[in-house]
């Protein structure tokens, strides 16, 4: 019996290990490719065991600070500003909704919730942001559309407030003569740290990884985030592959980084996330579970 069980355990562990490899190896390939000598790459293709290693990609990236560095700074800027504003708006919206005694609470909750059921879609949203609000090629284009406040996160925060902040605490604070803002900052917030961390991570990840807003609204390369630089390079690659014959070997019209450099930039794009993630994994998991299981 024990033998049988041990065999089952082994099989299951092997299954999971294979899955883990499946998840990790592609990234490994990416990293190794970025550290492979360019000629080797072109000759032997992407490989886990390159014939020749080289730091050329990264020294190029560091030297040609220019676009890549500004892309990085842009990503960080957008993520920090976006996440801060978003978290503030989420808290400010969720807290009143969590107060049972708020008049018209139901209507306001529905007002929030309805946005999860029905939305106008890309066409009206784009035309509105581009032609009415003129946010094209501004930094607002990277912060405001869709990401600034998400009903899903507001509901998560509100549920947290409702279930974890005892009304008696709020009552007590009110008896002490506190304003609502004071109650929020001095009573509710200190008790909400875990939830805050979870939301900051999820919202932050959303901003870090976003490339769609840039794709729709930004063509000015100075405003590109890392994701947008990567995206732009894909478009250039296909453009060149379709029209390669039109350009000579020394084409400076379309500036395409070499194969290794593309991988290098991709590595840079994911590195912060992958480095930070293991330390904060439990918050991510919590966010996923709360979002998925409790709705």
């Amino acid at each position: 019996m024990v033998q049988h069980d041990r065999v089952q355990q082994t099989i299951m562990n092997i299954f999971m290990i294979l899955l883990v490899l499946c998840c990790v190896l592609p990234f490994l390939l990416m990293v190794i490719s970025s550290l492979t000598d360019e000629t080797t790459l072109l000759k032997n293709g992407y490989s886990f065991f390159p014939a020749k290693w080289s730091f050329a990609t990264y020294s190029y990236i560091i030297k040609s600070a220019g676009t890549i560095l500004s892309g990085y700074l842009m990503t960080i800027l957008v993520t920090v500003i976006g996440t801060t504003c978003s978290i503030l708006m989420t808290i400010l919206f969720a807290y009143p909704l969590s107060r049972q005694d708020l008049p018209y609470r139901g209507a306001l909750s529905f007002f929030l919730f309805f946005t999860m059921l029905f939305n106008g879609g890309l066409v009206p949203t784009y035309i509105m942001y581009a032609n009415i609000f003129h946010i094209k090629n501004t930094i607002f284009a990277l912060i405001v559309p869709s990401l600034l406040m998400n009903a899903f996160y507001v509901i998560m925060m509100r549920s947290f407030f409702t279930s974890s902040i005892p009304e008696s605490l709020i009552e007590a604070a009110k008896l002490d003569g506190a304003h609502e803002m004071q109650i929020l900052t001095k009573v509710v917030m200190p008790l909400s740290k875990p939830m805050l961390v979870t939301l900051v991570l999820m919202i932050g990840l959303g901003y870090w990884n976003d490339w769609m807003n840039g794709l729709y609204y930004v063509s000015n390369q100075k405003l590109f985030t890392i994701q947008m630089i990567l995206n732009n390079m894909i478009n250039n690659i296909e453009f060149l592959s379709k029209n390669g014959s039109l350009f000579g070997a020394n084409s400076s019209v379309v500036d395409i980084p070499t194969v290794g450099i593309r991988m290098g930039i991709a590595v840079i794009a994911v590195l912060p996330v992958l480095v930070v993630y293991p330390f904060l994994q439990k918050y991510f998991v919590k966010g996923i579970v709360i979002g998925g299981v409790k709705g």
Partner: protein
Amino acid sequence: MRSSDKVSAVACRTKKRKSVLKYWELYLMMMPGIVYLLINNYLPIGGLVLAFKKYDYKKGIFASPWAGFSNFKFLFSTRDAFLIIKNTIAYNLVFIILGTVFAVLVAIVLNEIRAEVPKKIYQVFILIPYLVSMVVVSYIVFAFLSADNGFVNKSILHANINWYMTPKYWPYILVFVNLWKNFGYNSIIYYATVIGIDSSLYEAAVVDGASRWQRIRNVTLPGLRPTIITLFLLSIGRVFYSDFGLFYQVPMNSGLLYDVTTTIDVYVYKGLILLNDIGRSAAAGFFQSICGFVLVMATNLVVTKLDKDNALF
């Protein structure tokens, strides 16, 4: 209404009005959010009328002339309409079914494994694909499938298949990539449910001499049933929406793959931004929003009937 009712109704309204004033700080807090939702979510809903208009940039949305159903007639007269609806729904159904089966499998395996440390390590790693953007994923796919120097062509098959120009492989590729990216996320949700199953049920099963498979079939799966059904239904509700990055970025926007990689979202994007064909993309978007809404409402109502806790309302 009797006069006493009228009085209490008025008193109620006055009480409410007084309360509203009392809570002014809370309402003030909500103002930024309300403004944002109005602009970001509700205005575009109004903009859906674009599907029925012939949009003129100079005139703006509301002054543009009406076009009745001509945008829709134009859209549905093309073979594109059938193509994008078929692609969107077919891919989503495969994603949902395959995704659910696989995620449940992983969750159950994770639960059955006894070694504590490996269990935690597995959980950490399977979530990694979820954390990266689709753009990065498309680079990884390119590293594997590039015709000239991809890992698959050079190191595995030693062949020269031009992946990005051969449509027939892409349904499989896209299903695989979608599964790879999302299985960790979904598994964790199911795993969280599984570990919540009452352990005394397992103990009873063991006492009754149940094998591992019997335990899974009779305790674990029934315990997961509500979550599986709920998540399944909620996914069905979103069957008209697709992951734009998956269908646009990963195939590197290759024209030859159009027939197998164009979903409603890709079609709307291309029509709007690349081709400036507002009429048809607005019609497609409208179709998606309406069908999506009806389906979301329907599936949520079903979920409410089945499982009060997990319903959204």
